[in-house]
Amino acid sequence: MATVTITVNGKKRSATVEDRTLLVNFLRENAGLTGTHVGCDTSQCGACVVHVDGKAVKSCTMLAAQADGAEVVTIEGLAQGGELHPVQAAFHEHHGLQCGFCTPGMIMAATDMINRYGAKLDEATIRKELDGNICRCTGYHNIVKAIKAAADAMAGTAQAAE
C-alpha cells in the first residue's frame, strides 16, 4: 500500500491505495472525479488523458504513486468559475462530440496540443497529434474543426492581451 497525495484541480487529495492503483482509478474512485474515462486496457484510446504538471498524460499508463506530489488537472478542472475553457466551448460550438465518452480525453489532449503549437496548428498536425485518441462517433471531422477554432481563438486572445 502507498499513501499518495496529489493536487487535483487545485485541491489536495490523499489516499492510501494499493501499489498497483493507476492514476485513473485514483481520480475516479478516490477523488470521485468520474469525468476521466477508461476505454481500453492498452493505452491506445486516450479517454483517460489528464494533465500532470502541465503535460497531457494517459492516466491509465501511470501509477497513482508516480503522481505523488504532482499537480493534476482533469476535465472537471478545466472550466474556470463556470466559464468554459475555449477548447470546451469550441467542441460545443462545432459539434465535436456525440456520445461524449472520448470527449474529456479529447479536450485534455487538444488543450495540451494548443499549448505546444499555438496558432501554428494546422489540420494535418491536429490529425497527427490526435493519433493517441480514438473516437468512434464523430469521424474526427468536427473534432479537428473544433481544435483548429480553439487554437485560433486562443491565439487571438493571447495577441489581444499582449
Binding site: 472525479l33 459539434h95 456525440q98 461524449g100 479536450i107 468512434r136 474526427y140 471531422h141 468536427n142 479537428v144
Partner: protein, 787 residues
Amino acid sequence: MGVDGIGARVKRKEDRRFITGKGRYTDDMTAPGMGFAAFVRSPHAHAKVKSIDASAALDMPGVEAVLTGEQLVGDGVGNLICGWMIHSKDGTPMKMGAWRALEPEIVRHVGQAVAVVVADTLAQARDAAEAVVVDYEELPAVVDAVAALEPGAPQIHPEAENNLIYDWEIGDEAAVNAAFDSAKHVTSMEISNNRLVPNAMEPRAALADYDEAEEHYTLWTTSQNPHVARLVLSAFYNIAPEHKLRVIAPDVGGGFGSKIYVYPEEMVCLWASKRTGRPVKWVADRTEAFLTDAHGRDHKSHAEIALDENNRITALRVKTVANLGAYMSLFSSSVPTYLYATLLSGQYDIPAIHCNVKTVYTNTTPVDAYRGAGRPEATFLVERIMETTAREIGMDPAEFRRKNFITEFPHQTPVIMCYDSGDYNASLDAAMKAADYANFGARKAEAASRGKLRGIGMSCYIEACGIAPSQAVGSLGAGVGLWESAEVRVNPVGTIEVLTGSHSHGQGHETTFAQLVADRFGVGTDTVQIVHGDTDKVQFGMGTYGSRSGAVGMSAVVKALDKVEAKAKKLAAHLMEASEGDIVVEGGEFKVAGTDKSTPFFQLALAAYTAHNMPEGMEPGLKEGAFYDPTNFTFPAGTYICEVEVDPDTGKTEIVSFVAADDFGKIINPMIVEGQVHGGLTQGIGQALLENAAYDESGQLITASYMDYCMPRADDVPSFNLMTTETICPGNPLGMKGCGEAGAIGSPPAVINAITDAIGNNELEMPATPERVWRALQAAQPAQAAE
C-alpha cells in the same frame, strides 16, 4: 419556424455535461455495499467443461462468491434467445442451440463465461477469477463459415446438423434463371464482407441491485433499448416480472448496434445480486468487449448479374454464407435475411432477383447487427458488381448506374421492399459535380507525375430505415412490434417534458426532440426536457437502432404533440370566448386569428391545471401520449464518391477526397445529421481500409485489443464534403428518412471501387491494407514489378 425549430442548426443541449466531465455513465454509478464482478472465461474456442474448482478463489481476500453455470441453471435462469424466427426454404424453423449466461457443459467460443467471481474490490475479483481452476477437454474448432458447412467439420450444436442454422431464400428463382439464360452479358464475382467489432468507446457495463424487502431489481446498464432489455430479462430469462425490474440506461457511450442485445454479463449481475445480497457491478475491459460484444458482417457471397443488349440489368443472383458465430444473438437471424437480401435491388430497376442465404454456427463470437446491419453487406455487393460490370462492358460507371436507376415511385422491387420516394439522379449529379468527376483525368495525370496512382470510385446506396411496420415485421418472423411511444407533459408553469422510448447514446435527442416542441409551440428548446432511458419514467419504448429515432420515435412525439395542441386550442378557445377554429399558436402564445386576443403558453398550461374554468366535460391537465407504428420502411439513398492515391511502393492508400450526397428526406437539425454522416463514413472507411476481426485456425481472436484491431484514427480519414438532396418521405408526418447508418452503408464500396480503379486490379478484399493493395498491384503489373 422559430430559431430553435425544425431545420435549425441548434447547438446541443446535452453538451455541457459531457464537455465538463459531468456525464453519468454506468461505470460512474455506485451503490452502498457494492461488490465487483469478474468473469472466468474460456481460453478455448471449443471445449468440454469437465470441472470447475473454486476453492482457492473462495479463500482469497474480499471474495464474496464464485458462481457457476450449474447454479445459474439450477436457479431457473433462462437461456438467451434469438427474437426473430426465420424458416428455411423447406419450411423448417431455424436451429437454435442452447445459450446459457454461464456455460456449465461445452464452451463454444474464446471468451465465453463459465463462472463469475464477486468480491469487495475489482482487483480482488480479478485476482480470484485467475485462481478459479477450470478443467477443459479441448474439442476441434471451426471459425470459417464455409468450412463449417463442409462434411466432417466440428459440430457445434446438436440441434444444428452440419452447423446450418437455416437455408433461406427470397425471390423468384425460375424468373432469374430464365433471365440469365437469355442474358447478353453476365458478370459474376466472389464478394467477402469482413467481420468487424463495433467498438463503442464506452465498454459494456452493468450495476445490478436487488432489494430483498421489495423483491425488486434495478439494473443500470449500457443499453440502446432499456424497455426491450427489461422485457427480455423478464419474459425469457425469468429474472423478475416486469413490474419488479427497473432498467436504466443512463448516458451511454455509443452503441452502433452492440448495445441492443441482452448479454450474459448483465443477466448474471442481476442474478448474482440476489444470490450475494449486495449490488454487483461489472465493467468490460476492452479485450472482454472484443471477445463478447456481438460482432458485425462476416459474409461470403457469390453474385451474378445479367444484362440485356442495351446494358439494362435483367436479373441478379446471389448466394451468401453468413457466419453467426457460436450462438444466435437477439436479432442475429434477421440481419442476413430481411435486412440484407431485401436491399439487393439497390437503386436499380431489376426485374428479377433471387438470393439464397445459409447461416452457420462457428466457434467465434456471436454476430448480430452492427451499424447498417445487412444493408452494408447488400450495398457492398451491389455496388461492387455494378462497378465491375461497368468496367467489363466498357461503360462509364456513373452512366451505367444512371441507365439502370429507378426513376418512378412508388417502386416495388422483387424482394419485398416498396421504395416510396427518391431522386437518384439528383444525388448522383450533386456528388459528381462536387467531386469534379469530369476532370478526374487531369488529376490522375498530375498524380502520376508524382509517382502516385490515383483512382476514383462511387457508390449509389440505398437502405431501409424507420424500422419498422409492426404487422409487416411480425409476418416476417419478428417477435416484437417495432412502433415507438411518446408522452408530452406540459407542466403547470408551461415548461414541457417529452418522454420518449427512443434512446440517445450520442445522437443528440435532447436537442432534436426538443426542436419538435419548439417548432410546434414557438417556445425555446431551453423550456423543454427530454426524458428517456428509464423504464420507471417512460411507459414503454422499442429503443434506438436502424436509424429509427427520427422516422419512428419523433413521429410518436408529433402524434402526442397533435393531441396536446388540440386540447390546448379547445381550452384557449373557451378561455378567450372564441371559436376553436380561429385559434393559432404563434411565438409561444395562443391567439385568436384576426384579433389582438392572446393567451401566453404558460398561462394556458396553468389554466389546464387549476381547472377553474374548463370547457364542459374537459379533464384537467395537459398531458398526452401516443404510439406510432410506421406504415412502411423509409428509404434514404445517395451517392458517395471517393478519390484515392495509392503509393505503388508501399501499397498505402490515402483518401484525398470524399464526397457524400445524401437524401434523408426532411432534416430536423443539419448539424446533427452531418455528424452522423461523418461518423458513419469513418466506420465504413475503417471497414474498407483498416478493420478486421481476425481469428486463427484454433479460434483465437488475434485482434482483441487496440494494439491489434486497427481502429480509424484522425489521420486515417479526410475532412468530408457533404451535401443533401431532399425528397420528402410520404410515410411519416415529418417526412424523415433517417441518417444514422448511411455513411457506414455507402462508403466501403466507394473506397474499394476507387482503389481498384487506381491499381487496375479488381481483385481486392477488405480491409485493403497496404500489403493487400501492394500484392494486388504486383499481380496487375507483373512486368513492371519485375523491373
